[in-house]
């Protein structure tokens, strides 16, 4: 083996025998704390961006609707339809209340039967 190779191997051996520096004991905890803080920051940022996108999209849709109404208002033939509230017929209120009560009664009976069934046949 040449002198150069010997010296190279000696250098390699010396480096391998050098004491490696020990990590501080709190290193892992400190880094993970920073990583978790960073994760929380990213999550907040993403939530904010998500909310901002929804708000901007909604505003854009409303603006589009308003612009389209304004545009339609500019044409002479277009007439904004009048919104007419329907007249409330009191005579049907008793009938619909009766139907509602039957529905509630049936729901209550369904709930009770399911309770009894679960007691008899536990999971």
């Amino acid at each position: 083996m040449s002198t150069e190779q010997n010296n190279d191997e000696l250098l390699q051996r010396l480096f391998s025998e050098m004491k490696e520096e020990k990590l501080p004991e709190t290193f892992r905890a400190d880094v993970m704390k920073q990583v978790l803080m960073e994760t929380a920051k990213i999550k907040k940022r993403n939530e904010f961006l998500g909310l901002l996108s929804v708000i901007l999209a909604s505003l854009a849709i409303i603006a589009l609707a308003v612009l389209s109404f304004i545009y339609m208002g500019m044409t002479k033939d277009f007439a904004v339809p009048k919104v007419v509230m329907p007249k409330f017929d009191l005579s049907v209120i008793y009938f619909y209340s009766f139907i509602g009560l039957i529905a509630l009664l049936l729901l209550f009976m369904d709930y009770q039967f399911r309770r009894i069934f679960r007691k008899k046949h536990p999971l």
């Binding site: 002198t3 050098m18 520096e21 990583v35």
Partner: protein, 182 residues
């Protein structure tokens, strides 16, 4: 034993706690490399923390072209070297004639005559006199046993450049060791 890719995939899916596994695997090596570059434990601890935090923030940019250890060593190397540049330390300059005047036989005679402990102490003293980037390179090659190709990736130099630099750094070390003996 899971691979680095497995942990990276889990972290990218939202399992942040998995980053602790990568930390356990590489923290000691990264810390010891940075200590060698900056020469100071306290600074090295802060820089090592910065390294891992940068790695976490940029995990999405890790495409798997190189190994994770090469990638994180590159971040550690860049972080440590940037820090040394801020401090603007002065280092010994060794000219070509000094390097040529020290032969391999001289070096063998110098290193062969001493105990291991003395040699290691002198080697550490010699390393401290080298510029940080050279110190990093020689540590990566001998201590971390990285190949020339991996060192080229870490330092973003060409393979040929790394080979030449390693040769010159070895020569510089020999000159410094010989001067210590004299």
């Amino acid at each position: 034993m899971y691979t680095d890719t497995y942990y990276i995939t889990r972290i990218q899916s939202g399992d942040t706690e998995c980053f602790a596994c990568l930390l356990d695997r590489y923290s000691r090596q990264v810390f010891s490399l940075i200590v060698k570059i900056v020469g100071n434990r306290e600074d090295a601890e802060e820089l090592a923390q910065d390294t891992f935090l940068k790695a976490f923030k940029n995990l999405s940019s890790f495409k798997g072209d190189s190994s994770f250890s090469t990638w994180i060593y590159r971040i550690a190397y860049n972080t440590a070297i940037s820090e040394t540049r801020k401090k603007k330390q002065e280092f010994l300059s060794i000219d070509e004639t000094m390097m040529e005047n020290v032969s391999e036989d001289d070096v063998a005679a110098t290193m062969g005559s001493e105990s291991n402990e003395t040699r290691i102490d002198k080697l550490n003293a010699a390393l401290a006199k080298l510029p940080p980037d050279e110190r990093a390179m020689i540590t990566l090659f001998y201590m971390k046993e990285k190949s020339v190709e991996e060192i080229a990736e870490i330092t973003t130099l060409s393979v040929a450049n790394v080979k030449v630099k390693l040769f010159r750094i070895r020569k510089k070390l020999y000159v410094l060791l010989k001067e210590m003996e004299n």
